[in-house]
Structures are given as C-alpha cells and as structure tokens.
C-alpha cells in the first residue's frame, strides 16, 4: 500500500433475528451515523461510499442499499462477494484511501435477512444451477460435508465442535451487540438437535440481521484520532468447485488454501512472523465450529494434525491470543456484514473501546473472512502502530 490506512470510526447496530422497528435504510443510517460520530467526522469529509450486501433474495429486494444513498455527489459502489462481502467492502474503501483517491471512505455493510422466512432455500440458489442446485446443498450441509472430512482427516470429534461453540457463546455473553446470549455447555451443544451430521443446532450460526460501518482514513486524518491501523490486508480466490479441491495435493477442501495464501500476504505486509505470540485478538469468520477449526493451520497457529489439541491449548495457555472475544459468527451472523464485523471488532479491541469484552493491551489483531464455498478468503491485520 502507498498511503497507510486506519480505521477511524466504527458503527454497528445490534445483531438479532429481526429489526422490525427499522427499515433497511434506517439500519444503514444508524451504523453510518455512529461510525462518523466515532471518527469525529461529518459526511462532507467522506470522498467515497461503498455498500456491501450479499444475495438480494435474502432481503427480498434488489439493491436494498439504494434507499440509503446519502451524502450524494460522491462515487458509490456496491460489493457482493458472499460471506466476504463485508471485508471486500472494507478493502475496497481502504484501496481508495491507500491510492490517494479519497481522504476518507465510508464503508457500510447491511444484512436484511430478517425479511426472509426461508433462508436455507435462498442459500440453495448460491450453488451452481447446472450440476449442484438439484441437491440439498445449503450453507449448513456445505459445512457438514467439510466437518465430516475434518474428523476423518485430522481427527476432530463431535466433542471438539461442541467445545468451540460453547466458548464462542461464553464470549458473546459480554458482547451486548451479539444476537445470542446463551449459557451453553459443550454437553448442551451435543444434546441439541442434529441438523446434518455432524452438525448440531447449537453448532450452527443463527440468522441475524444488522448493519456495520467503518470510516477509513489516511495519515492526516488519523493524527489526533484513536486509530487502528490496517497493517496488512489480502484477499484471495480459489476454485469454486468443492469437488475439485478434495484430492488437490497443494491443499484440500479442508485446508482453506485461499485463507492460507491471504494470511501469508497480509502477515508479510504487517511484519507478522509468529502469529501465536504477535496477536492479542483473533476474530474469525466461523459460522460453524468446523469453519473455525479450518482456520487454525491456515493462519499459522498450529499444524493441521494438531488442530484438535490446539482447541485445548487455547483454554490452557494464556499467552495465546483470545479467539472471538465478540462471540464470533456463532453468536451473530449477519452474513453480508459478518466479515466487516470481524474487522470492526479488531479495530475496537486495538483502540481499547471494546467495553466488557475488551482484551488487555491489544497491540495487534487479525480478522478473517470466508465467502461462498470458501472460494474467497480475506485476512486483515490491524494494530496500534502505523505501518
């Protein structure tokens, strides 16, 4: 990057099943207003606005962001890259600032799926209509196909999935923005109804809606403001076809090659060499426990076969980063916004503004994103130091 880019403001609505009190425009407005207030900037200071919304059918309205085009007279873009919509939107805004084409960018992502009554039916339409749509492929069954492969290849158990989920719910108890506030033990997760073996109800993310916004700016605007610097950001694609990745020698379906490649690039830009020691916080795009487990080796926290042990290590070794202090997507998954929420949470933690869930002395944090059938992955490293 040429000009360093910082997160100067964060705005979020709460995340919950439905916001019947708000129109889509109200939700975008609320997040944007809060982010600008947090940055101490007015709309006139913003040179570009970028909105992120994933499948229109989840809202039942095309281009749901259109009724919230405020601050007119500037470039406006809309981004949809599935689950990484939120981070793609943030990266697009950061690129405007880094290139010098904007002093400040306002990026906002909205999930309005509370208007949908049959989300898994909508999610079936994200798959290939020629070879795939006739099968019961959904976000849940796609995750289940990977979870069973992770169990076979790397030795995870159903208990491991339950442990990860229980920890995420525990963290969410301190996050007033989270959708689910549940006191749940691993046993409760295992006792919840089986949706698609090996995934139980309490191991799957909820359907949430809400909006998240960031104000991004360069060095001049960051002066005198509480800034979280983007020290590295990378976005990587992969083959769409999941079947092509099953026997692939350089990285199978459960090795998350796109995330691994994004991490290598973002860590290189940020100067991160030992992720176990150099991050205070890790915010993962992990709507299912199995999705979280896949990230551990891809992000360099452990060898693939050590993944199950790493779940225990997190509980025993206080020198390790805190994983998902927000509760992560298992406690709130506003799909279009989720990857931006990870960046927002890291920015709040780095800026010391994370309230009851604040982790002590976070100098650096990492946020991930995963989209589609994980054909898109993003990694964003944020920190207190200007890159």
């Amino acid at each position: 990057m040429s000009e360093p880019v910082a997160v100067l403001g964060v705005g979020q609505t709460t995340y919950k099943r439905r916001h019947p009190e708000s129109s889509a425009a109200d939700l975008i407005w609320a997040a944007a207003e809060e982010a600008l207030a947090d940055a101490g900037l007015g709309i006139d200071a913003v040179d570009v606005i970028i909105a992120g919304v994933a499948p229109d059918a989840l809202a039942g309205e095309n281009c749901v962001e259109k009724t919230a085009i405020f601050g007119t007279g500037k470039p406006f873009l809309r981004v949809n890259t599935g689950g990484v919509t939120g981070s793609s939107t943030a990266f697009a805004g950061a690129s405007y600032v880094a290139s010098g084409r904007a002093r400040a960018a306002l990026v906002v992502s909205l999930e309005r799926m509370g208007q949908a009554s049959t989300s898994q039916r909508v999610f079936n339409t994200i798959f290939d209509p020629v070879y795939e749509k006739d099968f019961p492929l959904t976000t849940i069954t796609m995750a289940a196909l990977r979870a069973s492969m992770l169990m076979r290849v790397y030795g995870y158990s159903e208990r491991d999935w339950a442990e990860i989920a229980a920890r995420n719910y525990r963290h969410a108890l301190r996050n007033p923005l989270a959708h689910l506030h549940l006191e749940v033990t691993p046993e409760d997760v295992l006792d919840s109804p089986l949706l698609a073996w090996p995934i139980h109800r309490l191991e799957a993310c909820p359907m949430s809606e809400g909006a998240c916004a960031l104000v991004l700016g360069g060095r001049d605007l960051a002066a005198g403001r509480n800034a979280a610097w983007i020290q590295g950001m990378a976005s990587t694609s992969d083959s769409y076809a999941m079947g092509d990745r099953i026997r692939r020698p350089e990285g199978s379906l459960v090795d998350l090659l796109s995330l691994q490649r994004s991490a290598v690039r973002a860590y290189a830009d940020a100067g991160v060499s030992d992720p176990r020691k150099e991050f205070g916080v890790v915010e993962l795009y992990s709507p299912f426990s199995s999705a979280e487990a896949m990230t551990y080796p891809a992000l360099g926290f452990c060898a693939p076969l050590d993944g199950p042990r790493f779940i225990q290590e997190q509980q025993e070794d206080p020198s390790l980063p805190v994983f998902n202090p927000s509760g992560g997507p298992q406690a709130a998954n506003p799909v279009s916004a989720t990857a931006m929420v990870r960046i927002a949470e890291c920015a709040l933690q780095v800026r010391g503004l994370a309230g009851d869930r604040q982790v002590a002395d976070v100098r650096r944090a990492v946020a991930t994103g995963q989209g589609g059938a994980t054909q898109f992955s993003t990694v964003c490293v944020l920190g207190t130091q200007t890159p």
Binding site: R121, D134, T141, S148, L194, A196, G243
Partner: protein, 150 residues
C-alpha cells in the same frame, strides 16, 4: 408510540438455466449411462463433472473420457432436519471420486440403513466404495443417477 408497519412480500420468479455445451454433452452421455470427464491439457486432470475449461490452468479442456461407474466416497453428510423447500430427511449427500477422475462430484447416496445415524456415519467415514446407479428414466440431468454402496 407509533404502530410499526410491516408489509408482506413474496418472490415467485421462473427461470431457465442455460447449461452450455460441455454440460449439455455431459448430460447427453448420462442418458447413455456414461459419466464423462474432460481432460485439462496442461495439468492432465480429468475434471468430473465435465466442463469446458480448467480454472486452475486457464485452459480449454480437450479429451473426454468415461469414468466410473465405481468410485470412492470422499466426504458426506446425513441431513436429519427438515428445511422448507428441501426434500424430507434423512438424506445422505456425498462427494465421490469416480475411478479415473481427479475430482469429486456431489450426489445423493441411496439404499443405506439410517436407523442409527451414528452407526451409518461411522460406516461412511471409512470411505466405502460406491457405484453409480441410474434411475428408470434418464432425463439428461445430474439427478439421473445416485450412488449406492458397491
């Protein structure tokens, strides 16, 4: 306090999906009970189901070869909960690499004993051999066949 208004909505659109030449040929071969793959001239992978190009090499595929009818079950899920618009559970869906193919394709696995889901899952985790079984009247669609234990 204003009474909040919510307005009912419904999407009901019809579509026609155009499969393209490669998939059309694949489906025509399925009607002849042959599962075909297309070969990438660069990486030499046999891509199944057949497609017109290799995305890894950015090359048009060339030679078509028949694969299967037997193969190895790679990974699976047993769907146990009902979702609106999807078939009634329990359903087994799996990725299978057919003999001679380098990639796996997704389809249903039929004819399994699902009276004990845990036991069925344990059996499928052993990656059983499976074979392609065609339905009575092939339509030239991916649903013309399913997998059964070999």
């Amino acid at each position: 306090m204003t009474e909040l208004v919510s307005i009912p909505g419904h999407w009901d659109f019809d579509y026609t999906y155009f499969a393209g030449e490669a998939a059309s040929r694949f489906f025509a071969e399925l009607r002849n009970t042959r599962v075909m793959g297309a070969t990438c001239p660069d990486c030499r992978r046999v891509l199944v189901p057949a497609r017109s190009f290799c995305d890894a090499c950015f090359q048009r595929t060339t030679d078509w070869v028949e694969v299967g009818p037997e193969g190895t079950l790679e990974t699976f899920t047993i769907i146990t909960a009902a979702f609106p618009g999807l078939p009634e559970p329990p359903i087994v869906m799996a990725y299978v690499t057919l003999d001679g193919a380098d990639t796996a394709l997704v389809n249903l696995v039929l004819g399994l004993d699902l009276s004990d889901i845990g036991a069925a899952a344990a059996g499928l985790q052993r990656q059983p051999r499976v074979r392609v079984q065609y339905g009575p009247e092939p339509q030239g669609r991916i649903t013309d066949f399913a997998f059964v234990l070999a």
